[in-house]
Amino acid sequence: MLSKLRIRPKKYSLTATMIQVMFLLFAMLIVLKLIQLQVIESGYLSEKARQMRQPLRTFSFRGEIVDRNGVRLAADTTLYDIYAHPKYYKDKPEKMAMLLSPYLKQPEDLLFKKLNMLDEPTIKLAKNVDRGTVIKIKKLNLRGLDLVKKNERVYPQGNLASHIMGYVNMDANLSAGVENTGSKDLEALPKINPIEYNGKGDVIYDNNTDPAYATSPLTGEKLTLTIDTAIQHVAEIELGKMMQKTRADRGTVIVLNPKNGEILGFAVLPSYNPSNYNKAKASIVKNWVLSDVYPPGSTFKIITISSALETKSITKNERLMDTGKIKLKGWEITNYDYGKHGAPGLIGLKYLFMHSSNIGSLKVALKIPAEKHYNMLRLFGIGSKTGIDLPGESAGIIPPPKEWDVVKHATIGFGYSIASTPIQIASAVAAIANNGIWVTPHVIKYNKAEREKRIKSHKVLSPETARTMTDILSASIQDSEAQAGKIPNYRVAGKTGTSRKPNPNGPGYIPGQVFTSFAGYFPAKNPQVVIMVVVDNPKGVEMWGSTVAGPVFNNIASETARILNIEPDAPGLNTRKKGD
């Protein structure tokens, strides 16, 4: 055993000693270096390391916007801006220009001119280059090019719901629509363990690194709208067809759920593509449905009669003497069909709505004490912003009751002497459909906590008054000669309106120009949808609410009932029988 463990006799060897000394010196060098790194320069190096490893996620995507069914309405994509730095060129500008020209779709001589500005530190070569092209440019291995990634907003649905979507210009910090009101959520990035990068910009993977986040851009929160894309599309198509037919200036359709204030469709025409909002006229980009006011005309009679019933100024069986025309303080007011029907005499509320009696409405209005009338209108939201979650809303115009004289009070009865926005009328009518409870209209779907904070509701009418109004309105639609509001299998409660267009440059009205409108809801038995149609300045012979806005309402209502699968409350009603 011991023979295997031979130890050679120790001999002094200069070479061995030298090697040992060298190793010792080397070890001492390492120790000294470690002391330098770990002790002397510790603070500086830690800070440097922190700087190099800190999350460099400066590039992030804005959150998506989707409709109530998850259909994407807005998202981000990646584009690149390309810059050249002459200091770092490896190739000659001629060669670079020749190679880049086909990809950047710029003439070679122009590119050469740009690239040859050798005194410039940075040269802008191209903007908004797509990712595919950039990959090809990267393969050219040209030194001195800087490919700067940026995100761009895209709207896959094109012009659809453009006035709800709005637009966003991140460079100029401009936005409109839900891009504006929802920006806080859209820009809220998820809280994740910070991803660290090495000096070369590569991700340092460790056990806490989530590859899903490391390999895709951080994206803001998804914003879900209450809009139903199918209903929105139908609303835009039907409105567009009528506007084309009547050569109208502009138009809007608001479809909302009266029970919770959710807007299902919000068509505003003419529309624009939010991706190219800067190419559209300011008057088109503006959401005039919220900002501009109009005299609601006969649709306002719904609010007048509701207010009178609620304040007990009239009963549901009220009889009114309709003289066809009346003179108040020198102002002559007539029914629109005075020439045809003259003075119809004693009329009921159903007749008032069927024939849109101005005289009947003003008589009802004058029965309500001015102060009470004013308070009722304020409860309906007239003269106040609805609080819709879109920017640029105006409150409308309603004079205080002390300024009301008999003419003003009377004309308010049929929708003049005040001005409101279409959304105000839609939400006021929705309050009647919702058993007298007014709810804030909105386009963003909120969670329970946010909903309680942002969506207000208050009582306007008693359920009995609301029910009475629905019965009168649906009976007037059904018994009317006009087709407006008559849709198969459903009873509709609603009212047409035709109002003269005020002169924006002074007093009076623009001759021959009108707003035609229809405000209605269905099924009358259990209202689930309110539709408000306004067409501005249709051109033709018979331009009335019943002939312009009414057919638009009918088509949209039928399609909405089909899309939402609403149970019919009157099967067989308004359906054509075989042989008819």
């Binding site: 463990l5 130890i7 094109g158 199918a230």
Partner: protein
């Protein structure tokens, strides 16, 4: 006399330079030296193994990081491509696009007017000289 004896003794004394017997006679090793030797040998082996393991591990880590960087780049590319394709797909199936295409193709356009023409009563022509085709029956049909 005394000095000669001393000289003899000195000359006869054992020394490594002048051994009495020549040959390889290993020294007896004590247990301490053996233990130190064993420990050194063990530590040497451990060091060698650690170095080998470190080299292998370093190579593997570098290879892994390279693969990971490659996968990261590819996944990144796929994700960005997917985002672009999703946008294109959404646009392609959007109501706006479909409607636009249908309008441009006049797919659902109705005729502005329908021309009504009188039907012409013509006597059917009887073809008498029609060649008869003789078909040979084939088994299996």
């Amino acid at each position: 006399m005394v000095s000669s004896v001393r000289t003899y003794k000195k000359a006869s004394q054992y020394s490594e330079a002048n051994p009495i017997i020549r040959g390889h006679f290993p020294k007896n090793q004590n247990s301490k030296e053996i233990a130190i030797f064993r420990l050194n040998r063990f530590l040497g082996c451990v060091l060698a193994l650690s170095m080998a393991a470190s080299m292998v591990s370093y190579t593997m880590v570098i290879a892994k990081e390279s693969t990971l960087a490659d996968i990261h780049t590819k996944t990144n590319d796929i994700n960005f491509e997917n985002i672009e394709l999703q946008n294109k797909a959404d646009y392609a199936k959007s109501f706006y696009n479909i409607n636009d295409k249908i309008v441009k193709a006049h797919y659902l356009q109705k005729a502005d007017s329908v021309l009504e023409v009188n039907g012409k009563n013509t006597t059917p022509v009887a073809v008498n000289n029609k060649e008869e085709i003789k078909v040979q029956p084939v088994s299996g049909y």
